[in-house]
């Protein structure tokens, strides 16, 4: 009979379990319960913000698969969101298709484009890859504005409401449960991909691609797969965005919003699914926090009255990227792990 210690596993399956202890299961259960009753205890606006977060989470998880796990920098992530969103809108508004076709279709079309981009980008590394994806994003934006016949150009496209078993999900609360399910599915899927052979291959490619190739990891295959997966996630997130906002426009899918997704995974934690979630929620919540702060400052100092605008949000956003990279490269995830370990070991230091 072996002595059970804190990290005790009898098989590899135990080692890579999603929820390893009874306590983590309990906490997860509580958390899910909390999410389910959320609309009954808060107001519409919070629910709407959570909806926005869940879109950001799906997109950030996708980018983390490509950039965090596989090490391929992408400055064109929002282009894939755009492709997903426009596909969903074309099918949903144009052909009247239901969400269970439009959302996956957005993902699949986006993934196809991702593969088409991934193959020629195989030879590119680091900065050059960043530049290529950035150009790709800018070109997609241009096409969206110019190809009026397909995308409506500057008028954008409207999106119908989600139709669930004959009921239109027309409030934020209704949308909330719908988005929660999709987000949960996408997160669990990502978790599972990462803990299998595919995920380990991604990490090997990131850490040293040549070494990985020598050890039998098919570089071409896995890099393209990472592109495809990441753009699939982005495509689904784009479709979700279209449903939530009811209108899509090329101006949403800019270089700045690609940077925003990168910021999410940096602030959350590169190479961590949990980190992507933290980062996405954080970036969505920060402008609200700043707004509250600004209102406080305005009421204290009359000279600051009316000085607050969108520019402050963007400034803080830039500052946060810098601060996290300099002081906490592991992101929010690293902070969270430290807190967790601290609690687990209490009262001992380790």
């Amino acid at each position: 009979m072996p002595i059970r210690s804190k990290t005790f596993c009898e098989s590899y399956h135990d080692d890579i379990k999603l929820l390893d202890t009874i306590w983590s299961k309990c906490w997860m259960g509580l958390f899910i319960l909390g999410l389910l009753i959320l609309p009954y205890v808060t107001d519409t606006y919070i629910v709407y913000m959570v909806n926005l977060s869940s879109i950001a989470i799906v997109a950030a998880v996708g980018l983390n698969i490509l950039t965090g796990f596989t090490g391929q920098i992408s400055l064109g992530h929002s282009a894939f969101l755009a492709i997903g969103a426009y596909t969903a809108a074309l099918l949903g508004e144009g052909l009247g298709m239901p969400f269970w076709i439009t959302l996956p279709a957005g993902g699949v079309v986006s993934a196809t484009v991702g593969i088409l981009l991934g193959i020629p980008c195989l030879r590119l590394k680091g900065l050059y890859l960043a530049m290529a994806t950035m150009s790709f994003g800018i070109m997609v934006e241009y096409v969206l504005i110019t190809w009026k016949g397909l995308t409506g150009g500057e008028r954008g496209m409207y999106m119908p409401e989600v139709n669930m078993l004959g009921h239109a999900l027309d409030t934020d609360e209704n949308m909330y449960y719908f988005l929660l399910c999709i987000t949960a599915l996408m997160i669990i899927a990502a978790k599972n991909i990462i803990r299998t052979r595919v995920g380990r291959a991604f990490i090997a490619v990131r850490d040293r691609d040549i070494a990985a190739e020598v050890m039998g990891v098919n570089l071409t295959g896995y890099k393209v797969m990472a592109f495809a997966l990441s753009s699939f996630y982005a495509g689904v997130a784009g479709g979700m965005y279209a449903y939530v906002m009811g209108h899509i426009h090329p101006e949403h899918f800019t270089l700045l919003s690609s940077v925003e997704y990168l910021a999410m995974i940096i602030i959350g934690g590169l190479g961590s699914i949990l980190g992507s979630i933290f980062g996405a929620v954080f970036i969505v919540a920060v402008p609200e926090g700043i707004k509250l702060l600004a209102q406080g400052v305005e009421s204290l100092i009359p000279a600051m009255q009316g000085r607050y605008d969108e520019e402050w949000n963007i400034a803080v956003f830039g500052l946060l990227i810098m601060l996290f990279l300099i002081f906490e490269p592991g992101g929010l995830n690293a902070i969270w792990q430290r807190i967790k370990v601290g609690f687990k070991n209490w009262p001992f230091t380790y």
Partner: protein, 293 residues
Amino acid sequence: MYFLELVISGIAVGSLYALIAMGFVLIYKATGVLNFAQGEAIMVAAFICYYLVTRFGVPFWLAVPLTLIASALLGAVTERLVIRPLLGEPVFSVVMVTIGLSIFLRSMAGIIFGHHNYVFPSPFPVKPLQMAGIVLSHNHLWSMIISFSLMLIFFFFFKFARLGLGMRATANDQDTATLMGINIKSVYALTWGISFVVAGLAGVGLANVMVLNVGLAFVAISAFPAVILGGLESIPGAIIGGLTIGILENLAGGYLDQIVGGGVKDVTPFAVLFLVLMIKPYGLFGTKEVERV
């Protein structure tokens, strides 16, 4: 004739692109980092110069050196506060930190300077030069002259000057450079300082040729293709890249705009960049990295 005019105006803008691209190349050559905040350095310098001239009544010939000193300081401070803590971190982190910096500087500039369009009080005569039917403004001419002479200076600097060689050595291999007695920290600070000075010159030039507002920073994004096209570590590459992009952009604007329905001008550099990268992954003049495990 029209073609020639487009080309010449393209060279005028392209020489400024080349100047901006040189700012990128300087930093890349010495530190292996692509500085996304170069555009913001340009814009801030232009605003400093503008304020010196209009608000404080400093004559233009004095305002320019003052601006350059301020730019150098800004560069050195940036290096100390933002870049040095990340020495030895992966490229991705350093690039992201410069992206963060660019966002921060741009929005701070928006908060401080506002979003108006300012017209720079140009020291040169307004009436343009006319040679054989081709019109060229004094601003364009001067920015071309300044760009080209700077390029020459830097070319020789890296080829022969002790400091320039030190920078190249640092970029090549930090550890070995340290062993050879090169003070890496001062090389870094100096590089950023010099690069921001180049940006400052570009800024003053751009503000003279164009209209001054916070959006001036985005001109640097158009210069990205120039840098990549020329290869990140080649000064002659930057010049050729800058001129090519400037000319292509103007030709696209002059000919394609009418056919395709407008706005092609702004996307052309990126389409070119994308194609070049697909064919030559390290740009036209870049050196291929050889990796060993």
